[in-house]
Structures are given as structure tokens and as C-alpha cells.
Symmetry: C2
């Protein structure tokens, strides 16, 4: 994990882009502190509740990469904006108007990034014209400051994204609006960081990496820092065993990877079926096979959702000393 | 939910089979208490940690449907067996021997059920001969009492299961071993309860039901008692909106259902893609469409894993009064 922290910082440094790690993967103030110590300028959170936990832990520069809507959350957002340097994403006038109402009478404006869809087809305005229009709207609303753009380019999408960003810059310039920040993100596309017209980068998964990151070439198996430890609880036949890690541990994410995790010490084994607390493993390809009671290590398919299952991680140092790390920002409803 | 509790009890009563609801779905002592009040004889848990929480809450007849292995867990199991009427499943001599060591010197023996695989190909001994051999082994070990069988028949598997159970009964009789308990389970196959040679039944999902239970004919949409409330946070195009419920809320379970949940008020909408905190919804089939900021209700694909994501449920009575229900047995590692 420490190597992954250093590597991400190095990649950002080389590209001359600020590192703003996304804490959704680890949800741990202690890990975020290591990332800041390595050179990160601040952190990104996906939920208001995560940002609150991180602010309570002393982080004072947070981007919430999400449209915040609804009076209860907007009240909490305002309270958070009073105590830290907060930036928030927005992709509609409805969101912007809510943010503005929430910030009424605030001493300083809230920094707002226009979320742009540059190919993922998730959230975000779909055209540069819409982005410019929303930027103009934000800058006209009391309590808000248009601070730039938030993008989440798909793998291979750097060129299209750069064209999009350039068009928005040009359009904004025509309205005398500065695009101060361009916040890009994603671990699989981190390799394209140099091709992006970004000022900062959000990477979450790279803190641990996982089977998905190995499959897409963003990491090697040795870069996978988080292991699920499971016990072989049953071996009904020589070709099949059952581990006590099911969908309430490994989750059903990324089924297209074929199998629900990689058994480090039995690489030919395949977790082919999950119940909630059972992982059923095909051992037919294995020369050596685990015994009942044996503890096996698993690199999960998608580490972000696995960490989210647990209240604690166990951090193991190189010298073998271990300690508990609370997943402090887990379990926030919104 | 109250109707679902009554219905399960009725189904069991009609079949003359004891009701032992599985708490893995709700993980709530308060809900389990309602099930006991309706007539359940005890509860089933999937993990030792769940059973400990339930014992702390006053439940004194618990079946742990799982092979418990490893010294730390066996110590906890022994402690639990000292204070409640505990039964535990076992499908190998390795597990049985561990249980026996753990129970050394205990005042009363631990009831052990032989887990039989009658078609699910998960855990469980695969033949009646193996079951009889393990029953014999268990009854020979100090601190243990062979109490019967645990089965988890697949849908349509009642006949095969009954043959299996009958063969084990016969084999056990030859060794003067009584098969006192036959614990069957599963919500989709609850309709076959009358065809099983069972003495008790474990149903978990029926407490709430979900999209999967509707798809397999075990419940109607109106029987789905748990809704996820999500907010529409983005509407990038008329045909697509984004809700703040992603794979960290709805989970990726049951992808074969097509879509990751049912929007109650927009039945033609399809949640076609999940990120961790985004659900992307195809609205192209909808005449009426939700607006940004609107709160939508979702019946999840698989309710058991969704409840497991949260520390609390909100219980709403028929008169509209609402209160928080802690998911008290969530987050236990083992």
C-alpha cells in the first residue's frame, strides 16, 4: 500500500498534475493522511457523509464528486463549507440552484465544478455548450463560484476529453469565466494522465488495486495490497471446496472477470459461485489443493466494494506488525 | 413485513413443520422477536458473530448453519454453547473433531446436524453413506450429540431430497442413531415444504422478499416489504437519469434479472448500470419520468445483501410512524 501511494504521487508529479486521491476505496482517515504526507493536495469523496468523517478527522481540502440535492443534505453541505475548503460537483441548474440557496449569506462562496460527461455515459453534461451554459448559471448565482470542470474520462478517451475541455475553456473565456480547475479521475486510465488537460487527478482504486486493475493492465498482481483472508470450511469432493467468503464479503462485482476473486496461493483455483457466506471453488485445475481449515488469501475482483463491507481493515507492516484500521467513512447513508 | 411473518408461520403450521426463520436477511433482534412471537421455535444464523449478537439479545435456541473451524471461533462457539441451546451444522470429520475438542469437559453435549448436499452443490456431504458415516463419527466424539440433518434443497428438488433423507434415516437406524431433526430451508422452494421429510424450516428472504423472489414466483411485488429510497441526482438526457444508489447500495447480485432493481413508481424504468454510488437508469420506456431531486423507491434484486450494506433500517408502520431498526448483527467478520 505504501508503494502504491508513492507510485500514484510519482505519476501525478511527472505529469505536473496535482494528486487528489479518492478516499471511496479505503474510507480511512489514517490512509488518507499517508496520501497527504506523500504529496496529495487534498482528497476526493463520493458522499457528503464521507466528507464529514474526513473533515472531522482534520482534512481541510475536500472535493465531493457528486450532485448534492435535498434540503437535509444541503444544510449539512453548508455546515461543512463553513469549516473546510469544500468543492462540489454539479451537472444541472437544479443542483446549482439548491447549492446557491444553501449558501445564502455565507462569508465566502462555494467552489463548484461542472461535471462533464466525456464518454462514460453516467452523470455530467453531455456537450461543451451545456457546460458553458451551466458555468455561466453557476457564476450568476449568489453563494457559488464557478471553479472549473470535473471529468471522468473512459479508458482511451483522453483525446475526446481534451477536445471537450478545450471547447468549454473557449466558451467560458467568451463569458470571461476562468476554468481554474480541471479535475480528472480514474485508475484504469491513469496511464493517460499526460494526455489530459487536467490540473488535478482523482484515483481511488490504486491505493490497493484488485483483480480488475490487473485485468485492465493498470496494476500487477504484486501491486494488489489488500487480501481477503478466508477459511476453507468444506471440501465436499476432491475438485470442489467451499470458503467462508461469499457475496457478503467478495461481492458479485465484475462477474465478467470469470470467477469472484483470485486465490493467491492457488492461482488455478476458480471461485465459480457465491452465496452470501459461501464461495464455491473449483479445484479441478489445481495440482496442490487446500485442506479443510486452511486459510487462503484472495485478491478480490473489485476492492472498493469489498472494503465497504467491513468496519475494519487489518494493516500489516513489512516487519509483520499488524494493527486495525477503522473503515471510518463506511456506512454513511448519504 | 408483519404480513410476511404471519404468512411464513402459516405455511409452516399447515405443513406441521417448525418455523426457524433465518436472520441473515434482517440481522435484527427486534424483527426476530416478532418472528418468535408469531410462533417460530428459534432462529437460524449463518455466522457465529450473528449468533452471538442474537444470544446477547436474549435468543436461546439458535442453529448456526455453518461449519465452524479454527481455534478462535471454536472458543467462541464453546462459550456460546454454555449459555444457550445451540445447534451447529457440520459436513466433515475435520469440523466434527474441532467441535469435539472445543466442547471438551462441557456439562452438556453440543447438538450437531450433518449438512447434506441434496442438489445445490455448495457444502454438505454428497451421499447418504457419507452422511451416515459422519453421523456415526459425531456420535462417537466426546462433547457432541448427533441431532439430525441439515438440508438446503434446490427448487424442484423435494423428491430427490426426500429419498436422500430416507436413505440416511435407514442407515442411521442400522447404527441405532436417531435422526431427530431434519432442518430444511430456502424461500424459493418454500412452496415444496409439504413434500419434504423435514421437522423444521429455515426461511430468510421471505421476511422482506425481493425482485428475485418475485421472478421465481415465491412472492408478489406487493409482498416486497423493503424499499431502497434513492434520489434522482442527474438527468443528463431525457432518456437517462442517475440515482444515488449504486453497487454500494443495491449490490451487483442477480444480474440475470435484467436491471439492478425495480423502480416501484416507474415500472418501465431500468437500472442498467451501477457504479459504486451511481445507478444509471434507462427511462426510454417510461411515459412519465422522474425529475432531478425526486425520491424514488426501489425493490432490490436481492434484499439480503442490501440490508447487509446498512447499519440501520427504517421501519414504517401502517399508520406512517417510523423508527430506526439497527441491523445489529451486520459487520461481524466471522
Amino acid at each position: 500500500m505504501r508503494a502504491n501511494i508513492a507510485r500514484l504521487q510519482q505519476v501525478c508529479d511527472r505529469a505536473g498534475i496535482a494528486n487528489r486521491p479518492h478516499i471511496k476505496t479505503h474510507k480511512s482517515p489514517e490512509i488518507a493522511r499517508m496520501q497527504i504526507a506523500a504529496g496529495a493536495v487534498g482528497i476526493a469523496c463520493q458522499k457528503l457523509g464521507e466528507a464529514e468523517v474526513m473533515a472531522d478527522a482534520g482534512f481541510d481540502d475536500i472535493l465531493i464528486c457528486y450532485n448534492i440535492l435535498g434540503a437535509p443534505k444541503l444544510r449539512r453541505l453548508r455546515a461543512l463549507a463553513e469549516r473546510i475548503r469544500l468543492t462540489v460537483a454539479c451537472d444541472s441548474a437544479v443542483t446549482a440552484e439548491g447549492l446557491s440557496r444553501a449558501m445564502a449569506g455565507a462569508a465566502r462562496p462555494l467552489d463548484v465544478l461542472v461535471e462533464c460527461d466525456t464518454g462514460r455515459r453516467r452523470a455530467g453534461v453531455e456537450t461543451a455548450q451545456e457546460a458553458v451554459a451551466l458555468a455561466t448559471r453557476i457564476s450568476s448565482l449568489p453563494g457559488l463560484e464557478f471553479a472549473g470542470l470535473m471529468i471522468y474520462p473512459p479508458v482511451g478517451g483522453a483525446e475526446e476529453t481534451s477536445r471537450f475541455v478545450a471547447a468549454v475553456r473557449e466558451g467560458c473565456a467568451g463569458h470571461r469565466l476562468e476554468v481554474r480547475t480541471v479535475s480528472a479521475g480514474g485508475t484504469p486510465n491513469l496511464k493517460e494522465i499526460g494526455l489530459l488537460e487536467a490540473t488535478e487527478y482523482r484515483s481511488g482504486t490504486s491505493i490497493f488495486n484488485d483483480r480488475d486493475m490487473v485485468a485492465c493492465g493498470a496494476a500487477a498482481l504484486d501491486d494488489c495490497a489488500l487480501h481477503v483472508y478466508a477459511t476453507v470450511v468444506s471440501k465436499p469432493s476432491p475438485d470442489r471446496c467451499v470458503i467462508d467468503a461469499g457475496s457478503k464479503t467478495l461481492t458479485s462485482d465484475r462477474p465478467s472477470l470469470g470467477g469472484h476473486g483470485h486465490l493467491v496461493d492457488y492461482p488455478e483455483a476458480k471461485i465459480f459461485q457465491l452465496s452470501e457466506e459461501h464461495g464455491v471453488v473449483d479445484l479441478s485445475g489445481c495440482e496442490r489443493r487446500p485442506e479443510i481449515g486452511e486459510i487462503v488469501r484472495i485478491v478480490p475482483n473489485h476492492v472498493c466494494v469489498v472494503v465497504n463491507m467491513f468496519d475494519e481493515l487489518v494493516a500489516v507492516e513489512a516487519d509483520g506488525t499488524a494493527r486495525r484500521l477503522p473503515v471510518a467513512a463506511r456506512g454513511r447513508v448519504a
